[in-house]
């Protein structure tokens, strides 16, 4: 398992991660969800030993990554966000090298390499130089190099970025298979749908801080049964807020000159009432988007902005 306690990482005055804590269990997929620059990769870097934490504590299978780093790293498999492959070598040679880096030798290494090539769908092109592979194939091999030594803890840093839909589905299946085999998986992404479909437990991070954590059900409960209503048009923020102040059980999440975001129960039924109030305040509505409770709406509720911003 992975235990992260009050982890912080700073670069001079810039705080990349601030007092982040969570715990990932064996056989489960723990997701770190957040926009680009939220601190997900820095957190993975601190767990994998790539970066030294400024403060806090990280343990992998009870081994502290700072004081007992070699044992902690021996338990880890890392699939970095960027490809980490030798383009001149073949898929098999890459897998053999990275398997060897974790102490696999001889027959055990050869068997694992064969199995990973089979699972990643690269067996028939195992002898080709990686530089001839498509982006999706390289992504799958990148994943294979992270699991070839059968790690007990697997860190995946946005492994599906820039990948074709077919390879993405296959990769997510592979991640699920690893967790089903008992591996503790930490998965970072900024794709809501990936996090919702894949992760058993999630932490939402923004600006280096963990702003919510729990299972998908627990996180949805945080939002209640509230819908998210986004109105595009022309608004005067102060007047719009004043016009909606009297409306029952409604929260203005964001009010800008071209967009208004509201959180409320039964938004579909209350549209005429809202439109009338806003019209009286001189607002002009050109587009309406209604979002049912989801991670997306939770993120907006918590941060006041969309995840992809």
């Amino acid at each position: 398992m992975i235990e992260v306690e009050q982890l912080s990482k700073s670069y001079g005055d810039t705080v990349a991660v601030e007092r982040v804590s969570f715990r990932a269990e064996p056989g489960r997929i723990f997701g770190l969800l957040g926009p680009n620059g939220a601190g997900k990769s820095t957190t993975i870097g601190c767990i994998s030993g790539l970066l030294a934490p400024t403060s806090g504590r990280v343990r992998v299978l009870s081994h502290d990554v700072v004081t007992d780093g070699k044992r902690a790293r021996a338990a880890l498999g890392v699939v970095p966000q960027e490809l980490a492959l030798y383009p001149d070598l073949s898929a098999r040679e890459n897998l053999e090298y990275w398997g060897g880096a974790y102490g696999l030798r001889g027959r055990a290494l050869a068997e694992r390499v064969d199995l990973v090539l089979e699972r990643t769908g690269l067996a028939d092109r195992a002898k080709e130089p990686v530089k001839r592979f498509s982006g999706g194939m390289q992504r799958r091999l990148n994943f294979g190099c992270g699991v070839v030594h059968r790690p007990r803890v697997l860190l995946l840093d946005e492994p599906t970025v820039g990948i074709d839909p077919q390879s993405r589905v296959r990769l997510l299946e592979l991640v699920r298979e690893e967790a089903d085999a008992g591996t503790c998986v930490l998965y970072t992404t900024h794709y809501m749908e990936e996090a919702e479909s894949l992760c058993d437990r999630l932490a939402i991070v923004d600006h280096g801080r963990c702003i919510a954590e729990g299972t998908l059900a627990e996180l949805r409960a945080l939002l209640g049964e509230r819908d998210l209503l986004r109105l595009a048009g022309s608004f005067e923020p102060t007047a719009a807020r004043a016009a909606l102040a009297e409306a029952a059980d409604l929260e203005v999440v964001q009010a800008e000159t071209e967009q208004l975001t509201l959180s409320l129960r039964g938004a579909g039924r209350r549209l005429p009432e809202l439109f009338e109030a806003l019209a009286r305040a001189g607002c002009e509505i050109r587009e309406t988007t209604l979002t049912q409770p989801s991670l997306e709406s939770l993120f907006i509720e918590l941060t006041g902005k969309e995840l992809r911003e």
């Binding site: 970066l51 070699k70 890392v78 970095p80 980490a84 492959l85 030798y86 070598l89 040679e93």
Partner: protein, 420 residues
């Protein structure tokens, strides 16, 4: 045991990658080979006739003495070759760089020499040449000195000879037997006077045989002079090329992945050095074979020298790794590397052997790291490096290697690979 296996795996991985780009390996060998070939062609190498200083001679005196001087150049072992020309043609040809020097002997030169009177020779040298005109100037200075001492010893006889042979009626009687016999007796008497100083000579010489391994350097052929320097040139190119691989690994993300493995970058770096040593050994052997074919170098005596060259190649690669790690980009790394490599090659005896450099420059060159290593290599190839000196040199090289490894390893893991 895991680490040893990983070092071997890392070395195997780098060798595979290198062997898939054989052109770069060949270039590292080819560049010094081409430079060596060009230098050999330009200088004539060990074969062919020795260069002679071609002297254009304008003989206005046309005496026995000047004919004797011109005739001396016809001897095969003479470093000079005289060609009689008129003044206009001589000036035109020396201006065109067609000879090493133009010597104008004025009318009355022989008489001036015999009478010990002032006389002015005109010597015009070719500024495009350095050594051969210098030899001509030196030779004339020596002749001038010799004339002075000739007069100190045989001055009376010479003056009498020239007076009698050129002075009207006396000249007719000059070649009579009694006159010649009298002159010969006078010269013989002079030699007898000098006998006490010349046999044995008043100045004594003591011959001392320097022990083997000291500064007693035998004459070196072209190959022996140039081969070690060219070998080091190859080692420099190789080290620079191998060190640039760090940027490729960084761009590929493999360095970052290596940091997350249990053994981090240590085995990866050692593997790279092992691969470097293997490639260096292969290329050094190929260079030695080329040297044997082109310059008649003896392969059988090269063994220790080649081992030394391989060890130097590994340490040089470590030094070039450090250069790359100090740079902020691959381009900056290459630029910095070139700024260091080229002056070191020039001063350190790779382009020009120390024997061809001015003494001051050679002294500086021998104190550069590669110059020092080159001196050891030359001594090893010549069989002049004793066991103790070899042990000291090997220890110094090993110490430099260990220090560089420690610095490179730390910087690679902490700053370069994570990119922070």
């Amino acid at each position: 045991m895991v680490a040893v296996g990983l070092v071997l795996a890392s070395a195997r991985k780098d060798l595979r990658r290198r062997l898939r780009e054989p052109l770069s390996l060949l270039l590292w060998l080819a560049i010094p080979a081409v430079i060596g070939g060009l230098m050999s062609s330009l200088s004539g190498g060990d074969e062919g006739p020795r260069p002679k200083a071609r002297i254009l001679l304008v003989d206005r005196d046309e005496s026995l003495l000047t004919q004797f001087l011109a005739g001396a150049g016809e001897r095969e072992e003479s470093p000079f070759a005289f060609e009689l020309v008129n003044l206009a043609a001589g000036r035109e040809r020396i201006d065109a760089g067609d000879a090493s020097a133009l010597l104008v002997i004025p009318d009355g030169f022989t008489e001036a020499v015999l009478r010990e009177r002032p006389c002015e020779l005109e010597l015009v040298t070719n500024p495009a040449q350095r050594i051969l005109p210098g030899m001509v100037e030196e030779a004339l200075a020596i002749l001038s000195e010799a004339t002075f001492y000739l007069h100190r010893v045989f001055g009376d006889e010479l003056r009498e000879l020239v007076a009698d042979s050129t002075d009207g009626e006396a000249a007719a009687e000059f070649w009579e037997d009694a006159r010649v016999a009298d002159l010969a007796a006078g010269i013989n008497r002079r030699f007898r006077d000098l006998d006490a100083y010349l046999f044995p000579p008043a100045i004594g010489f003591e011959a001392a045989l320097l022990p083997a391994g000291a500064d007693a350097a035998p004459a070196l052929g072209f190959g022996e002079l140039f081969f070690p320097g060219l070998l080091f040139m190859m080692l420099f190119w190789l080290a620079q090329g191998m060190s640039a691989d760090l940027w490729q690994e960084r761009a590929a993300g493999t360095l970052r992945r290596a940091v997350t493995t249990p053994e981090r970058t240590g085995p990866l770096l050692l593997g790279k050095l092992l691969a470097t040593a293997t490639i260096t050994a292969g290329l050094t052997l190929a260079a030695a074979l080329l040297g044997a074919v082109a310059f008649d170098l003896r392969l059988t005596t090269m063994g220790p020298g080649l081992v030394w060259a391989v060890a130097c190649g590994v340490v040089l690669t470590l030094a070039m790794y450090l250069v790359q790690l100090l740079a902020t980009s691959q381009r900056a790394g290459n630029l910095l590397g070139n700024l260091i490599v080229f002056p070191l090659l020039m001063v350190g005896g790779s382009f020009f052997p120390f024997q061809f450099m001015p003494d001051g420059m050679a002294a500086i060159g021998r104190r550069t790291p590669n110059g020092w290593a080159l001196v050891q290599l030359q001594a090893l190839l010549a069989g002049r490096l004793g066991g103790r000196e070899l042990a000291v040199a090997a220890a110094a090289l090993a110490a430099a290697g260990v220090l560089l490894y420690a610095i490179v390893s730390r910087r690679l893991r902490r700053r370069f690979a994570p990119g922070v």
